[in-house]
Amino acid sequence: MSATDCEQQETGWGILEDLPGDPMIWVLIFSELAAFGLFLGAFVVARALQPAVFAAGQATLDPHLAGINTIVLVTSGWAAARATASARAGERARARSWLFGAMALGGVFIAVKLYEYAGEIASGNGLETSPFFTLYFLLTGFHLLHVGLGIVILAVVSPGGRAASVETGTAFWHMVDLLWVVMFPIIYLVHA
């Protein structure tokens, strides 16, 4: 038995130890990717079955607001990645500053998304308007909850600024970012 095998047996996480951050966050990340993957798959299948309903719903959305939010979230992801690099270099104060920037941009994403929801609801579109809007509000609302949770996680790991904690918090944040860059074209731009 090699030394690596012994270490992996001691921690109990096996090959998950090779990932950045706490292995537990990766269990969560893989679970979330599976759940969102199925959810997006359901959206795609529903659109294929009712293309006219989905095209009509999509036409009422504002892709420019979603585009702005994409830029906001990827910039937030960039700040979080810089925070990880700073934390690994032992620059805890700088890591905290980058994390604060990432959280602030996360707040901007939430504000823009709520503004977008307000416009859609004011136009008479709600959860029960059509299958498109049911899936749209559930998918984007579920993602929005994850943005909020991600900000809380970043706020928890921020004060210490330790590399392992920052890696754990930012891994979750990048997953939220990854989900959005895939969701954005599928919901707002792709036509059946």
């Binding site: 090959i15 090779d18 990932l19 950045p20 893989f30 990717l33 993957g37 997006l40 798959g41 795609v44 299948v45 659109r47 294929a48 293309p51 892709p63 420019h64 585009g67 994409t70 830029i71 990827v74 910039t75 992801g77 960039w78 979080a80 990645a81 810089r82 990880t84 690099a85 890696e167 930012t170 891994a171 990048h174 997953m175 970012d177 990854l178 860059v181 895939v182 954005f184 074209p185 599928i186 731009l189 792709v190 036509h191 059946a192």
Partner: protein, 87 residues
């Protein structure tokens, strides 16, 4: 330099996000437009996986697994739209 790599990834992500908004008005053919949009999404996802999530140096199993998730979702979305367009 890791900071340089992160900055380049960020610029690519911003550029592709802006390019995606230009695709629907500039590319009238839905099949081609969808293919472009979803290819851009896959490239963005790959950049996030490699540079932001930092799986570039992780074992190929994990890098491949998360990348496969991105490719599977966008490919499924494109195939579904292609089938509807061709029927």
């Amino acid at each position: 330099m890791i900071q340089d790599r992160l900055d380049i990834a960020w610029i690519i992500l911003i550029g592709l996000a802006l390019a995606m908004l230009l695709v629907p008005p500039l590319v009238p053919r839905p099949l081609l437009a969808n293919a472009l949009l979803l290819t851009f999404a896959a490239i963005k996802g790959r950049r996030i996986v490699l540079d932001f999530l930092d799986l570039r140096s992780a074992p190929a199993l994990w890098r491949g697994l998360v990348s496969a998730w991105v490719v599977t979702v966008v490919l499924f979305a494109w195939l579904a739209s292609a089938i509807v367009a061709l029927i």
